[in-house]
């Protein structure tokens, strides 16, 4: 058996007195597509953000490709994890992220946004970086917008540029944090199509979403977060069609109420 690409061990996170989750274990194999669902405040986004250390977990650790991220140091009677800048830079090149609010760099063109990581982080020459960035833009269908500024794009286009920006770094894992939640309903489809195409390439991804139908079609595994942890998990059929535990059942029923 090969080691999982990504392993989360006993991860816990609190904001002040409020524990968001604790003791979360998860193994992600290459090619897994994991949808993370749950009510607002159940810690879906926080869990995702702990994986690339935009948020620092209080307990537990993240192991990527067999190597723990960060360095565990004993301090008195407890261990804490320290992250060197170099370790974070390495981690984030291997784990890409797409945000709910796109977070494109408004002072750069679309091409500039996609090139930025290649030039600044990967130290690639500008010409080579521009060629690769254009190829990534072509993949999300926006090569013709290369010279436009983000302010001139629709929400759906912005999110596709953000996806191209993450892809350009050639990450092994892609994290999607509610990628369609900030979009006009008419624009959700084009972003989901783009993500679906990436799924078709066998990419490893974790997706926090409220699009239950999309999760059902796209995911290889579904996690339902509640009560400070992974409350129920399984295949999309198991969790979304035949949930076994009461909170999952109530959540799915709520989402189905207005389907037709």
């Amino acid at each position: 058996m090969t080691a999982p690409l990504l392993r989360i061990e006993g991860l816990g996170k609190s904001f002040g007195d409020r524990a968001v989750f604790s003791g979360v274990d998860l193994e992600v194999a290459r090619g897994d597509r994991i949808a993370i669902i749950g009510a607002s405040g159940s810690g879906k986004s926080t869990l995702l953000r702990c994986i690339n250390v935009l948020e620092r977990a209080d307990q537990g650790r993240v192991v990527l490709g067999g190597e723990p991220v960060g360095e565990e140091v004993r301090r008195g009677d407890r261990t804490e994890t320290r992250y060197s800048e170099a370790a974070l830079v390495r981690l984030r090149q291997r784990v890409g992220m797409v945000f709910q609010q796109f977070n494109l760099f408004p002072h750069m063109t679309v091409l500039g946004n996609v090139m930025e990581g290649l030039v600044t982080v990967k130290r690639m020459g500008r010409d080579a970086a521009a060629r690769q960035a254009l190829a990534e833009l072509a993949r999300v269908g926006l090569a013709d917008k290369a010279e436009a500024y983000p302010a001139h794009l629709s929400g759906g286009q912005k999110q596709r540029v953000a996806i191209a920006r993450a892809l350009a770094m050639e990450p092994e894992v892609l994290l999607f944090d509610e990628p369609t939640s900030a979009l006009d309903p008419a624009l959700v489809g084009e972003v989901l199509d783009t993500i679906q195409a990436l799924a078709g390439e066998g990419r490893t991804m974790l997706l926090v979403t409220h699009e239950i139908g999309f999760a059902y079609h796209m995911a290889t595994r579904v996690l339902f977060l509640a009560e400070g942890g992974i409350y129920e998990q399984g295949t999309p059929d198991e969790v979304l069609k035949n949930p076994r535990r009461p909170l999952t059942q109530a959540f799915i029923a709520g989402h189905r109420r207005f389907s037709f």
Partner: protein
């Protein structure tokens, strides 16, 4: 009242005023560069994770913001040489007073600009593997500087006019030379009118240039 304006003595003394103008522009350029770059450094220190740097920055800002530049220039010129074995020229004292004061003010302008950048910009840049310094240099500062350009322009104008304070230590600048010309020819009305006009003529084109810069930077807007 009929006053007969007579600009002839000023024309006769144009060389003295030209010297003054050169002195003003020289002091302005040095203080502009030093003040605005030191201000950025202090603003970054103020955001540092290290408490010592943070407190040094705050102490510096509060000290130089809450004392008059005129007092600072006099202090550097007359008092500092009594404390330390340094000889300081009028030019040096004026540079210290005006630059440090401007650094304190502009540090707060930079801080406001940096703080106004959405956390999502930092996160997106870090998420593609950029280091903190790279995020600052490539993502945050270019946007922050653009936002605070009007406030920095204000600072620059202020620095230009603060150069007149250097006359208190007899530094050769426009006002100092004007005073000289006026006292020799008993024509303060003409002289100070001309000095005022010269300041306007020197400053206004610079201000127009910053407007042009603002427009150029606005090309990414919708």
């Amino acid at each position: 009242m009929t006053y007969r304006w007579d600009f002839a003595p000023i024309l006769d003394n144009w060389q003295a005023l030209a010297f003054g103008a050169i002195g003003t522009v020289r002091l302005f350029l040095v203080c502009l560069v030093l003040g605005l770059s030191l201000g950025l450094l202090v603003a970054l220190m103020r955001r540092s994770r290290h408490g010592v740097l943070r407190w040094l920055a705050i102490g510096f800002i509060e000290l130089f913001r809450n004392t008059p530049v005129l007092v600072q220039i006099l202090w550097f010129y007359f008092a500092l040489p009594m404390l330390a074995p340094v000889e300081i020229s009028p030019f040096g004292a004026a540079i210290l007073g005006i630059s440090l004061n401007s650094a304190a003010y502009s540090a707060e302008i930079y801080r406001a600009g940096i703080q106004s950048i959405e956390p999502g910009q930092w996160e997106a840049a870090r998420a593609i593997g950029m280091t903190g310094l790279q995020v600052l240099r490539r993502i945050v500062l270019p946007q922050a500087l653009r936002r605070v350009l009007p406030a920095l322009t204000n600072r620059g104008i202020e620095i230009f006019k603060m150069t007149t304070l250097a006359s208190v230590v007899a530094y050769v600048e426009l006002l100092q030379q004007g005073k000289l010309v006026a006292s020799l020819n008993f024509n303060p009305l003409e002289v100070y009118t001309v000095i005022g006009a010269l300041f306007f003529l020197l400053l206004y084109p610079l201000v127009r240039a910053t407007y042009a810069l603002e427009r150029r930077l606005a090309r990414s807007d919708a």
